[in-house]
């Protein structure tokens, strides 16, 4: 009893030390996360760099009104959501399917080799992979050579508004399906093999066992990942799109993040860009909170 209180006292005395440990990191968080939040007032000003935030004139909601009067913004929101939802759906289906197939592979070295290869693109940057993709799908590249062999006309995949969105979705799924399959594979291996054996005894074939045992067993993880994916609906992937798009495909490929970047850093419309960014952050935060609530409710786990 006496020993216990002694330890408690020591631990209580550690308080100031704990605060000291938090201090360096919190200084960085304050400077680079919280100070910029103060800068959001720019969105309600006509910000002029020379005058600074304190000297610039307030204009109320003018930038937001202007934003919603532009036909651009609706096009950009549509692009963002269509691309993001496409990536989430196709990406999830591919990752689950791949995990199920990979789980059937019994030849060890083959499994290892395939895993090594399919996880690799996840670790490469979009700068690198955009060059790889452009090489593959340019007008005379290997993909178009196959297209021509099939007797079809060459396709300008990255320069056509018909093909740009599908290309963005497919190349993103290509980069991430392997890595994303890891959590699903872990979920599959934690399913009791006895269930499969019993079902096989009862005459259930492979498809039936996947449908009635494997998929239901993975459901909590699928729901959790689905909730997490919800948070990315407003970020369709800046790095990828920035490195693959061109003015020719702004109509179908321009998304919120690329628009904020071009308005702010290229056109130097600081206040307007910040207003669009603020809209994105607010909706993004709401989505995160919803996702966290859903994850807690559906799976008893929290995202953050």
């Amino acid at each position: 009893m006496k020993k216990k209180t002694f330890i408690q006292k020591r631990i209580m005395r550690s308080q100031s030390m704990y605060h000291m440990m938090m201090l360096p990191g919190m200084i960085f968080v304050l400077i680079f996360s919280y100070v910029p939040m103060v800068g959001i007032v720019m969105a309600f000003q006509d910000y002029v760099p020379a005058k600074g935030i304190l000297g610039s004139e307030f204009v109320g909601l003018q930038h937001f009104k202007y934003m919603f009067s532009l036909p651009d913004i609706w096009q950009i929101l549509t692009n963002t959501v269509v691309i993001a939802v496409g990536k989430i759906i196709l990406g999830t289906v591919m990752a689950i399917a791949f995990a199920i197939l990979l789980n059937e592979i019994r030849v060890k070295f083959f499994k290892k080799a395939v895993q090594t290869i399919v996880y690799l693109p996840h670790f490469l940057s979009w700068v690198v992979l955009a060059a790889v993709v452009i090489n593959m799908v340019n007008l005379d590249g290997p993909v178009n050579q196959i297209v021509q062999m099939l007797g079809l006309d060459k396709i300008n995949f990255l320069g056509s508004n018909t093909w740009f969105r599908p290309m963005i979705i497919v190349t993103d799924v290509w980069k991430e399906f392997g890595y994303n399959s890891i959590v699903y594979l872990a979920a599959i291996t934690s399913i009791d093999p006895g269930l499969h054996e019993a079902a096989a005894m009862d005459g259930a074939n492979w498809w039936k066992r996947i449908w009635h045992i494997t998929l239901p067993g993975m459901l909590p993880i699928i729901l959790l990942m689905g909730a997490m994916n919800l948070t990315s609906i407003l970020s369709a992937g800046f790095d990828q799109i920035y490195n693959l798009y061109s003015p020719m495909v702004y109509q179908t490929g321009d998304v919120l993040d690329t628009y904020v970047y071009r308005m702010g850093m290229i056109s130097r419309q600081y206040s307007f860009s910040t207003a669009v960014g603020l809209l994105r952050s607010v909706v993004g935060m709401a989505l995160m909170l919803i996702a966290n609530g859903l994850a807690k409710k559906l799976t008893d786990r929290k995202i953050f």
Binding site: I7, M12, Q15, I105, V127, V132, V183, D239, G264
Partner: protein, 297 residues
Amino acid sequence: MVQKKGIFSNIGKGAIYLIVFLLGLICLLPLLNIVAVSFSGSAAVAANKVGFLPVDFTTAAYEKILGDDQFWRSFGISVIRVILGLVLNLVLIVLMAYPLSKSKREFKGRSIYMNMLIFAMLFNGGMIPTYIVVKNLGLLNTVWALVLPGAVPIFSVIMVMNFFMGVPKALEEAAVIDGATPFQVLTRVYLPCSKPVIATVALFSIVGNWNDFFSGLIYMTKVNNYPLQTYIQSLSVKLEDMLNAGGSLSSLVNIMDVSSQNLNAAKIVVSVIPLLMIYPLLQKYLITGIVVGSVKE
């Protein structure tokens, strides 16, 4: 697992192996293509003869890189950035994760700190306000602009915090009885048994810093100061962009110069080599790490 024997199941198994093999191939071939281009003669590249094996094998592009000052300057900036970023990230992550792993009772201010971190993760000031802060601190065109804004990766802090929460309390109590201060408890008790999670967040930091091109794009106004990814990104400025921007004739000629295609491919390949060197570690720690450390608070 009991398998139904018979022709059908053998065909089915064969089909599964085939599909998995093809998916592997789809991931591998595009990467092989760029390696093949980098080792091919420029005439063959210009004529689009290069598929997945080099044509007219030559290492000319790689020899040219050796004498390319800007490439190595950018490479050096990226290396320095990764080292600075790694040290800064690890020190701050560990220092913050330890007090945060204590209960509310043991560490009074915990919930305030925690809420501040979570809010910073959910919401941010956006690109322009952050840019203005970095600019006003005089960081533009310095390596610090690439490192300091990302000094505290909050997701990693939470991951390490979760791991620390699982370290048996008895270890700490024993150390405290022996007179250890909290800092000593952290460095002598917690750190030695947290190698996997430390390795995981270290690799996150290395890959993230190495692959990021965007900070270089907005915080560096001179190409001289570009980190490697930003430099490589700047090489692939497209023809129509140059025309739109009213590019000079000489710069257009430069872009039309097809021999630059295999040179760029070689630069890309070299930029990936450091990642390939640590890839076995990535596979070991990140892949197990995402399963163990992903969620829960």
